[in-house]
Symmetry: C2
Subunit: 254 residues, 2 copies
């Protein structure tokens, strides 16, 4: 592994969920936004909402960004050129989510390189009613993900990842052996348990439908946690369709 200051920044990433009261300078904020803008883009389809209203932010972070897929702004530009957007909402989301994410990740890395802590908040899109009203979002602006930023008041360990051979496949996609899957799971589970990430089981996701609990704080770890999410949540595509429709995206209409 080759190290340099940039790669050290990338390898040191951990989510920060406790912040000091110190407020990042305006110059820092401008710097991370500019670094975000400079990411590769298909159509500059990402935009940012910046909030300094600390008391309303997750974890009480001093700075909160909401990264948006912004099709509205693109339409405004196209109107000035006498064009009407005909690309489907599905296609615009496919490209727009990527533009927004590359921007988001650049912003996060820039912030971390300045000694700030960050945390992504992925359930932002599901707060449609609140966000549309609070931030006066026009149709075709999708708040994709939130990012809290501030000075860290905790130093959690870097979290485990899958083994390299479970993440990167040369030449073709492999057929996983049982051994390979189990080894990857073990690396994740033992890694999180060693860090007491689920806090002795306090962060366990509850079992639904009268399933019987067979885990405890000493055995509950990442693979069980993530399985409970995708095994219990978000099963109704109509729910996501309704959320997207609220933001003015209609591609899932029947």
């Amino acid at each position: 592994m080759i190290l340099n200051p940039t790669i050290e920044t990338l390898m040191n990433h951990r989510s920060i969920r406790k912040y000091t009261d110190e407020i990042p300078s305006n110059e820092m904020i401008e710097t991370v936004v500019k670094a975000g803008q400079q990411a590769a883009f298909a159509g500059q389809l990402g935009s940012l909402i910046l909030s300094r209203e600390k008391k309303s932010h997750p974890f009480g972070a001093p700075i909160y960004f909401i990264v948006c897929v912004d099709i509205h702004r693109m339409q405004k530009v196209m109107e000035k050129r006498n064009w009407k957007m005909i690309s489907s909402d599905a296609a615009m989301l496919l490209f727009g989510v990527q533009d927004a994410c590359y921007m988001a990740q650049n912003l996060v890395i820039a912030a971390e390189s300045l000694g700030l802590g960050t945390c992504y908040l992925g359930f932002v899109p599901f707060m449609a009613d609140k966000l549309i009203e609070k931030y006066k979002l026009p149709p075709k602006v999708l708040p994709l993900v939130g990012i809290t930023i501030g000075y860290p008041a905790e130093v959690p360990p870097v979290r485990p990842r899958y083994p390299l051979d479970f993440s990167c496949f040369e030449g073709k996609y492999p057929e996983f052996s049982d051994e390979q899957i189990e080894r990857a799971m073990k690396q994740m589970d033992e890694g999180y348990l060693a860090q007491d990430y689920y806090n002795g089981g306090k962060l366990m996701i509850k079992l639904e439908n009268d399933r019987e609990e067979t885990f405890n704080g000493l055995t509950y770890s990442w693979t069980e946690h993530i399985s409970r999410k995708w095994g219990q949540w978000l099963n109704d595509p109509e729910e996501l369709r309704e959320v997207l429709n609220k933001y003015g995206f209609e591609f899932l209409k029947k």
Copy 2:
């Protein structure tokens, strides 16, 4: 604007479409993959296909990564925990595309910090038949974006971006004034024209439906180019539905 080695790397991003024959070392490749893995993730839903088959790559780049949204691998892990995925394909894509993009952007930044050049290729998903066969992709693996990597054989300028006040909005989403939109367009168009990016009009997108051409190499620039994409392409959501269905994602079914 604050500068440090990481932020300089981010601000120096430009897509590289010409590469020397020099092959990045295995250690470099391992480094960029590990840096990619270390990005924030909701469920480790991103994976990478690595190809060193130079002759088949865009721009003849020595290294080509295809960044995938990998729901298949997640299902394999869940099976071992006796869970069945019930989250909808739409929801898995919403989170999976983000995981994949954060990984992709970390990988790109790590590569650039090592002096390598990169280029994103966004139309990868539309090559379904070819990619599924070539890389033996199982259902629920979506090749989202390609990344070429190698030593740069060109040094293009850093490309323009929107003004800061057209990208980041404090407190609430603004109502854009005509002046604000026109200023942003001017910054993009004059910036690209000054760099002769569209090569004196050689990269102009052709007008369809007998529209009359009113631009030439001295006037055609970014806002017209991007308007022609979203004003002429990808208008049929069924097309994207079919593409996603080929990869085993069914959320757009009627």
